[in-house]
């Protein structure tokens, strides 16, 4: 008969071992096997590697994010005294969109600060519209005034910024503004002279009236004395 067990049953093998004295405390000695195979060892090593690597990667991305946000924070805070820094702060916060770790507090800060910069930009856009409106109405003096009274950062896009700077730096506009200022000065001077002349005239008139009243009073007094004497 064909058999994979070479004609032996598993019990026969155990009995043979027992007879050969392979016993521990009277029981058959169990065969010695390693705790785990090499494949299991490799798997475990890979698993531990992934966990440790993942933890360090998480720590690294966290650190990278807090460093980036700290850099942006410095720029934003310094922008409160130097408005030009708002542009750098905005660029800095925009670079943080690629970061893989952003906590809620970082997100709130980013959203609110970018929102605040957007508000400044919208304010400048409104002024830009006013200035361009004045230019369209050929009121270069008003346009120049709008542009030059603005002390905030330049947040307009390149094309609008060019128009803005043209108004601020254009020599012809500066000349017309200077001429308007000179005209305003001379008008103011003339007005001041006219005002002072009017004041003198008014004072003279008042003095003349006072004199005539005094004269009339004296005349009346003299008349009164004469009547008493008669």
């Amino acid at each position: 008969m064909f058999s994979f067990l070479n004609g032996k049953s598993p019990f026969d093998e155990a009995e043979e071992k027992l007879e050969a004295g392979e016993t521990v405390n009277g029981r058959p000695k169990l065969s010695q096997a390693p705790i785990m195979g090499w494949q299991d060892g490799v798997f475990l090593l890979v698993l531990v590697g992934l966990i440790v690597g993942g933890y360090y990667f998480y720590q690294y991305t966290k650190q990278k994010s807090s460093d980036s946000f700290a850099k942006c924070d410095v720029l934003y805070v310094s922008a409160e005294t130097n408005a030009e820094k708002y542009v750098e702060a905005e660029a800095c916060y925009n670079e943080t969109w690629d970061l893989s770790f952003v906590s809620d507090s970082m997100e709130i800060l980013r959203q609110n600060r970018l929102g605040a910069i957007e508000d400044l930009r919208n304010h400048q856009k409104d002024l830009y519209a006013d200035a361009m409106g004045a230019m369209a109405a050929r009121d270069t003096v008003a346009a120049y005034k709008v542009v030059n009274e603005y002390k905030g950062p330049m947040l307009l896009n390149r094309g609008d910024a060019k128009d803005w700077n043209n108004i601020a730096e254009n020599d012809a506009i500066k000349a017309s503004v200077a001429a308007a200022a000179a005209r305003a000065d001379s008008i103011a001077r003339e007005k001041a002279i006219a005002d002072s002349l009017a004041q003198v005239a008014a004072e003279l008139r008042a003095k003349a009236v006072a004199d005539s009243i005094e004269k009339a009073n004296k005349k009346l007094a003299r008349k009164g004395k004469r009547k008493k004497a008669q």
Binding site: I108, Q111, N112, G115, D119, N122
Partner: protein, 148 residues
């Protein structure tokens, strides 16, 4: 029975009243934004853009069974306008899937009353006001249609 628009307002009012820290409001809006599902790109037509918003906000209405269903999404170019999206999602928590008359019954100052505008940048405040205006406008239009 579905929730009434008054119940929805009260729930939101209670939520805002529970905020102990000013950041809680922003966290809430961020969560709403993250939970909010966008809309099909095919629906993003120019006619659905809310005018007056700094970000590009789409609001698409659909009038069905006497109620208005809104789809909303916000795009910010290179940025992620989470606060704007959160504001939009908050508005929809009140107005979505409601009858036009219910929408029109809501006091427009409700969001101010709960303190939403506190600390909100002027640009976002204006954008949110534009969104509300558009919702009321759609409600008025669909109200008129439903009464015909």
């Amino acid at each position: 029975m579905s929730e009434s628009i008054v119940d929805r307002q009260e729930k939101i009012r209670a939520k805002f009243a529970s905020f102990a820290d000013p950041d809680d409001k922003w966290k809430f809006l961020l969560d709403l934004a993250r939970e909010h599902k966008g809309m099909d790109a095919a629906l993003k037509a120019e006619k659905f853009i809310i005018q007056g918003c700094a970000s590009t906000m789409y609001l698409v209405p659909k009038f069905e069974n006497g109620k208005i269903h809104f789809e909303m999404d916000v795009e910010g170019g290179t940025t992620n306008p989470l606060i704007s999206r959160g504001l939009g999602a908050l508005a929809l928590q009140v107005f979505n899937d409601m009858a036009p008359a219910d929408i029109l019954s809501v006091d427009p100052t409700f969001f101010q009353q709960i303190g939403l505008n506190v600390g909100l940048s002027p640009t976002r405040s204006n954008g949110f006001a534009s969104l509300l205006k558009q919702i009321y406008l759609y409600a008025r239009v669909f109200d008129a249609i439903s009464k015909k």
